[in-house]
Structures are given as structure tokens and as C-alpha cells.
Amino acid sequence: MPITPTHYMLLSAALFIIGVIGVMVRRNIIIIFMSIELILNAVNINLVAFSAQLHNVVGQVFAIFVIAVAAAEAAVGLGIILAFYRNKESVNIDEMNLMRW
């Protein structure tokens, strides 16, 4: 049974859902950040799956841009976590309820 793009879409949907659950359920900010990375990966899988099916490399170019943005987001996000940890000694998202601290 040949592998159709729908299989890839189902896989990326499942990965997307796991990411969303991770963001919603966990309280540790770092785990939340990692779940966001999972979501971005799910998007990438979709992009590459369609680019392979349509034999058009544009999808992969977009995937590279997604990776670049993910890198930037991770760097700044972790900077915020470090700054927050230095003030509040905890990485529990519930305690992050102030816009400025």
C-alpha cells in the first residue's frame, strides 16, 4: 500500500496534537517550549511531504525558514526563562503572571 501524503498529514497532525497537549498540560516552562518545538516540527513534516509529492523544492525552502525562526524563538525564549529564573527562582508557568517583574 503506497505511502500517500495523507499518511504524512496524519503523522504531523498527531505530532501537532502531542505538542498542543504538552503546551496545555505541563507547568514547567521548558517543557512548554519543547512542545512548541514539536509543533514546529509537525509543520515542517507537512511542508516537506507536500514538496516531495509535488516535486517542487519550495516546500523545503519554507522548512528552512521555519527552522531559522524556531532557532531565533528558542534563543530569545530561553533568555527570558533565565531572566525569570534569576528573579523568581522557579520555572513554574503559573507564577509567570506579571508583565514586568
Binding site: I17, G22, M34, L54, Q60, I64, A70, A72, A74
Partner: protein, 171 residues
């Protein structure tokens, strides 16, 4: 046939590690599972005949970003685990419910899409003068997608400066 087996094996690993990332208590273990997850996603890209992206995924994601996470996890080693105390007004059940709803909705779209006849073949892609996956990606990146490329580099520069300003103790 071999490709189908490979796909299912890799997909199983990806989803398995993703679940482990989200559920393990120890943060370092979940970072490790994340690395393994990204390596298998890279394997998936190789299956989708996108070797350049697979290598970039290992280099940037597994080799760079997750190392960043590992550093932060070690610097932010906690004396009391965040999940230690139960937070009363946490709507975990609602979270699961919402996620389930989204899953059902996505499944419905996919399944219905699968029933209908495949969409009309879209316009044939522009034939690129170069062959080979890396060359084509490179060609597109520097011709039709040059502006987004420059913007992305600006974005990375801004992110670097932002991270340094945030993380450094005294400037």
C-alpha cells in the same frame, strides 16, 4: 514495500518520543527524548528525498537548539520540581478535552479529503537549471526567495542580541 515499513517504523518512533518528551518528569530526560525525536524526523526527511533538510535538521535543531535547552535546564536546576504542588485552578481535563476536539476535527478534514477525487494537478513547478536537492534549494533561496532570506538573517541577528541582553547578568 520497504519504504512503507520504514515510514511506519519512523512514524512510530517520532510519536513515541514526542509522547515521552511531554510526559517525563525529569527535564533532562525529556530534552534527550526531544533530541532523539528530531533525529527520527531527519530520517523521515531522508525518506521524503530531502537530504539537505535532513542534515540541516540535525545540524541546527539537534546540534544547536536542543543543546541550548540542555544548557538552560542545567543552569536552572530546580530545588523543588514545578509539578510538586497541585495547582487547584488548573483545568487539565479541559485541556485534554480541547486537544481531543482538535484531533477529531483534523481527522474529519483528512478523511473527507481522502474520499474526494484528488485535487486537479497544480501548475507544473518552474524547471530549475540545476539538478540535485541541495543545488535546487540553494538556487531558489538566492533567486526567488532572496528577500525572505535577508529578513531571516536580520531576525536571527535581532534574536542573538535579544538573548544576550536578557541572559547576561550585568551588561
Amino acid at each position: 514495500m520497504a519504504e512503507a515499513i520504514a515510514f511506519y517504523v519512523i512514524a512510530a518512533f517520532i510519536l513515541g518520543f514526542a509522547v515521552l518528551v511531554v510526559t517525563t518528569k525529569d527535564t533532562v530526560h525529556s530534552v534527550l527524548f526531544l533530541v532523539l525525536d528530531f533525529l527520527f524526523v531527519a530520517a523521515l526527511y531522508v525518506l521524503l528525498s530531502a537530504p539537505f533538510l535532513a542534515v540541516i535538521q540535525i545540524l541546527v535543531y539537534a546540534g544547536g537548539i536542543v543543546v541550548l535547552y540542555l544548557f538552560v535546564v542545567m543552569l536552572v536546576n530546580l530545588k523543588r520540581a514545578p509539578e510538586a504542588h497541585e495547582d487547584p485552578h488548573r483545568l487539565t481535563k479541559l485541556g485534554f478535552g480541547l486537544a481531543g476536539a482538535v484531533l477529531i476535527e483534523l481527522g474529519a478534514i483528512l478523511v473527507s479529503g481522502y474520499m474526494k477525487a484528488p485535487a486537479a494537478a497544480s501548475a507544473a513547478p518552474a524547471v530549475l537549471p540545476v539538478s540535485g536537492n541541495t543545488e535546487q534549494v540553494g538556487w531558489l533561496l538566492y533567486t526567488s526567495y532572496l528577500i525572505p532570506f535577508e529578513i531571516a538573517s536580520m531576525l536571527l541577528l535581532v534574536a542573538m542580541i535579544g538573548a544576550i541582553v536578557l541572559a547576561k547578568r550585568e551588561l
